[in-house]
Structure formats: structure tokens, C-alpha cells
Symmetry: C2
Subunit: 184 residues, 2 copies
């Protein structure tokens, strides 16, 4: 099951860090791509691509001004559209049937103001709780639940660096040697 | 088991939104308080308090310049300190034993630059995966796992407003009437 994330309404000035966290969360929790909409932001895309180059892929970040085109194409090709919103049905109740269909998912995460049309176009409007918190935490917990914790087993290919988990301290392994490096 | 969150190294100019998301995530996923360190930020604290007033509590946000004092006091009173870091041991492996102790948890989330001392003071250094993503997603997934999804059953008291979950559209219920209000 392929999962991509569509980030609506990005604003370069205000949203750079949150959208970066959305992208990195998508990658770390098993989505294959984030499609950005709203304002185009080359700096942000490059910084995400830098992470992919360093920590491995595959993962893509792309830009599409016309978000509705992205949703329409996704549905035409047989995929399902899941809009994460605090107004939606509880993720816990909806995910089991969503997983059963096995169909690819486009996970839509909103920005400042989500057009009402998104609620109508989505196959599922899903809340990770019905409380206000964050599109970053909603996306993370949704993907964690959808993939049943598989983020802990993900392998990224062509990584230049990887973490060697430690009880205390920081240790990384770089691709150009077998030695672990202790970092401060 | 009481859980509080200690947010290190907040910077007013750069971190306001991320730290706000950390606070709202802490609340929505069952922590009782966020203690902020780094730069003091009254605006941020007031905006979180506004959410608590509107969406219910109990939840507190406080400020302590001396983060090490917070950790020391927590440990002296018998609580455990869990530092979320991509360099730590996988949350999936560590959480079961952590849950068994039943001891209160102080969850430490870093800012730009976490002092090495934090890694040594923490009882557990825990990674929600060993990939770079976000303190917001780490906190959310960690609390989701620690509380075994209990965020979906949380009730907040004295809420002025609550969501009525919908398959499509937005609906809220306000405290001053029994009527649901459809919002656009």
C-alpha cells in the first residue's frame, strides 16, 4: 500500500518549519512522497532533499499548485483520499476498514484554512482525537496506526549516515567506514 | 501515572509555533503539564491557556529557567525522566518496562541544541525511530504508545466547545446550548 501526503496551503514565511516537520514525519513513518501546495518553496524542498540524501530514501518532495488536480488524479487511479482533521471520525474506528481495502492512500493535511471542498472530496475525514493539536502529530500517529508501528522496522537505502541506538549518548555510523563515531 | 513534558531551549522568535504544537500535543495525548525552558514567552503561554479555557482541561503550562532543577526535583520525588531523541533506544522496546514501573514520567523534548548532560541525567533516552523528524511527532507517538491509544477516550472538563465527529463537514457543540452548530 503506497501512501503519499498532500500538504495544503503552505505559506513560505509562516509555515516553513511546520511543513518541514510534516515532510520529515511523512518520510520517517513510511510515506513515499509529500506533495506541497500553496506557495512554492524551493528552500524547503531542498532542505528535505538534503535529509533524504544524508539519511536515505526513497522519498520525494514535489510541488503542485493545483491541489484539486492531485486529489482528482489520485481517485481516478483507484486510490483513496484521507483528510486528517479534528472534525473527522476517530482514527481508531476508521483505520481497520481503511487498511482492509489495501488501496493506496493520499493523506491530506491542512494548513491555515482548509476549503470546505476538501471535506467533501475526501473518502475519509479522520481525526487523531477531536482535540486541537498539530498536523505533525496527527500525521505521525495516523501513519503509526495505519502501518501498525512498522516505522520501527523501516530501512532506508543509500543512507550516508545512520544512528546506532544508545541508552545514553549519541552514536552514528557513516557509510564511508565501518567505525562508529561517538558525537558529543 | 502522571506525565509532564519539559520543553528545552525554547526560542521566542524561531520556535513559537513548534513549541505551541508541542504543548497542544501534550494536552491532547494525556500529559497534565508542559514546563517550558529557554526563553520565557508569555504570548505562547497565553495562547495555550486560551485553548485550555475553550477546549477544557485540566492542563497547565509553566515556565522554569532552570531546567536541570526541574529534572533533579522530578527524580528526587521518585519520578522517571524520559528524553526523546533520535539517538536513543527504540520506543517500542523500552515502553513496556517503562509502563510496568507505573512511576510518573517527565518527558523531555529538546530544542535546537540539547546539552550532553540531558542524555546522562535521563533514565531513558528513547527514539521514536532513529530517523530525523520532529519533536512534535515524537511526543505524540510516544504518548500514544505509552498510554496505549487512550487519547481517543480522554474527556476534558469545563470545555466551552467540543467536536461532534463527522464523516464529512464540521460540527461543534457549545456549552451554552444543546444545539449542534454546523460550521463552514
Amino acid at each position: 500500500m503506497d501512501v503519499k501526503v498532500l500538504r495544503l496551503g503552505h505559506r513560505r514565511s509562516r509555515d516553513a518549519r511546520i511543513t518541514t516537520h510534516v515532510c520529515l514525519t511523512a518520510r520517517a513513518f513510511g510515506a513515499s512522497e509529500v506533495i506541497l501546495s500553496g506557495e512554492e518553496d524551493r528552500n524547503l524542498m531542498e532542505s528535505v532533499e538534503d535529509v533524504v540524501e544524508r539519511w536515505g530514501g526513497p522519498f520525494r518532495v514535489s510541488y503542485r499548485r493545483n491541489w484539486q488536480g492531485v486529489i482528482d488524479e489520485w481517485k481516478r487511479s483507484g486510490g483513496e483520499v484521507v483528510h486528517l482533521t479534528m472534525y473527522g471520525l476517530p482514527a481508531r474506528d476508521v483505520i481497520p476498514s481503511m487498511r482492509e481495502t489495501g488501496r493506496d492512500k493520499l493523506v491530506v493535511v491542512g494548513g491555515a484554512r482548509v476549503p470546505g471542498k476538501v471535506y467533501r472530496l475526501a473518502d475519509y475525514n479522520v481525526g487523531v482525537t477531536n482535540q486541537p493539536h498539530s498536523e505533525v502529530s496527527s500525521l505521525a500517529v495516523f501513519l503509526h496506526m495505519l502501518f501498525d508501528g512498522a516505522e520501527f522496522d523501516l530501512k532506508f537505502s543509500a543512507a550516508m549516515v545512520e544512528v546506532v541506538p544508545q541508552a545514553h549518548g549519541k552514536r552514528i555510523r557513516t557509510g564511508d567506514g565501518d567505525e562508529d563515531a561517538e558525537i558529543d
